[in-house]
Amino acid sequence: MTFRDGVVASLALVPSVFVYGTVFGGLAVQAGLTAAQTLGMSVLVFAGASQFVAVPMLAAGAPALAIVITTYVVNMRHYLMAATLAPSFRGFPRRWLALIAHVINDESFAVAVARSRPPDPWVYLGSAAAISGSFVGGVGVGVVLGGLVERPERYGLDFAFPAVFLALVAMQLRRRSDWLVAVGAAVLATALALVLPGNWHIVVAGLVVSALGALVLPAEESA
C-alpha cells in the first residue's frame, strides 16, 4: 500500500471537507477575523471542530485562556488517534514524526484504520495530504465568499456554529450511555452558563460529565 492509495481512498471525503472548510472560512471572516487570521488558524491549529468553537468565543471577547483551554479539551480525542497510529511509524525520522503529528485528523484516521489494522503509515500520509489540502483550500474559498455576505444573521448563519456542534454530537450517539453523557453535559452546562462568567461552563461541564461517565460506565464501552 502506498501514499497514492491513501489519496485515492480519501477522495470520497474531499468534497465535504472542502465545503466544511469553506463554511468555516466564511463564518470566521463574518465574525471579524481577517483572511490571514482565518487561514493562519486553519494551518497552525488544523482541527475544524475546535476552530468552529473558537471563532464565536473570539467574537464575543472571551478570555484568551478560556479559548485555549476549551480548544485543548475539544481536541483531547487526538490522544486516542495518536496512540493508535504511533506504532505504525516506528523507523521514521523523529523530525518527520514531529511534523506528521500535526496533521493527525479524524478523517485520515478513519480512512487508514478502515483499510488495515494496524494502519499503514503511507496510506495515512496520503490521506492526510488530501484532507489537509482540501480543508485549507476550502477555507481559502470561504474567506473570499464570506467577505461578500452582509448582515449574516439575516440568513441564520450565526446559527451554523451551534448547528455544527449538534450535528457532530448526534452522529456519535450510539449507546444509551452516550445519550446519558450528552444530555447530562447539556443540562449541567446550561445551568452553569446562567451562573458562571465567561465560557467556563463548557470546559467544566465537559470534563466533569465525561470523567463521571468514565468512572461509572463499564470500561469495555471504550471501543
Binding site: T34, A64, A83, F89, R154, S210
Partner: protein
C-alpha cells in the same frame, strides 16, 4: 488585533499537545481502558456543553419558549444528523429554518 494572533498561537500549541506526545512516544502499550473510555466521552460531553447553552441561554436567561428560532433549528439539525443525514446538509437545512423563522417573526 494582535489578541487574535495570540489566541491562535495558544490554540496551536494546545492542539499540538494533544497530537504529538503519544505519537512521538511511539507508545507500545495501548492506553488503559478507563482512559480510552474517558477520551471517547470527552467530545460527547463537550459538544452539547457548547451548543445547548448557545441555543437556550439569551442574555444570561433561559429562552425556552417556542418563539426562540434557534430552538427549532436545534431540533431540526439534531434529528436530521441523528437519522444519518450528511453533516453539512443537516446544518444547511437548520440554518434555513432559523432564517425563515426570523424573517417571519
Amino acid at each position: 488585533m494582535s489578541r487574535v494572533w495570540l489566541v491562535i498561537g495558544g490554540m496551536a500549541m494546545a492542539t499540538y499537545l494533544t497530537r504529538a506526545p503519544m505519537f512521538l512516544a511511539l507508545a507500545r502499550r495501548p492506553l488503559p481502558p478507563r482512559v480510552r473510555l474517558w477520551l471517547r466521552l470527552v467530545p460527547l460531553a463537550v459538544l452539547p456543553a457548547l451548543a445547548v447553552p448557545l441555543v437556550l441561554v439569551r442574555d444570561g436567561r433561559l429562552a425556552l419558549g417556542w418563539a426562540n428560532p434557534s430552538l427549532w433549528g436545534a431540533i431540526v439539525v439534531f434529528v436530521l444528523a441523528a437519522r444519518g443525514v450528511n453533516l453539512l446538509a443537516s446544518v444547511a437545512v437548520a440554518v434555513g429554518v432559523v432564517a425563515l423563522l426570523r424573517a417571519l417573526g
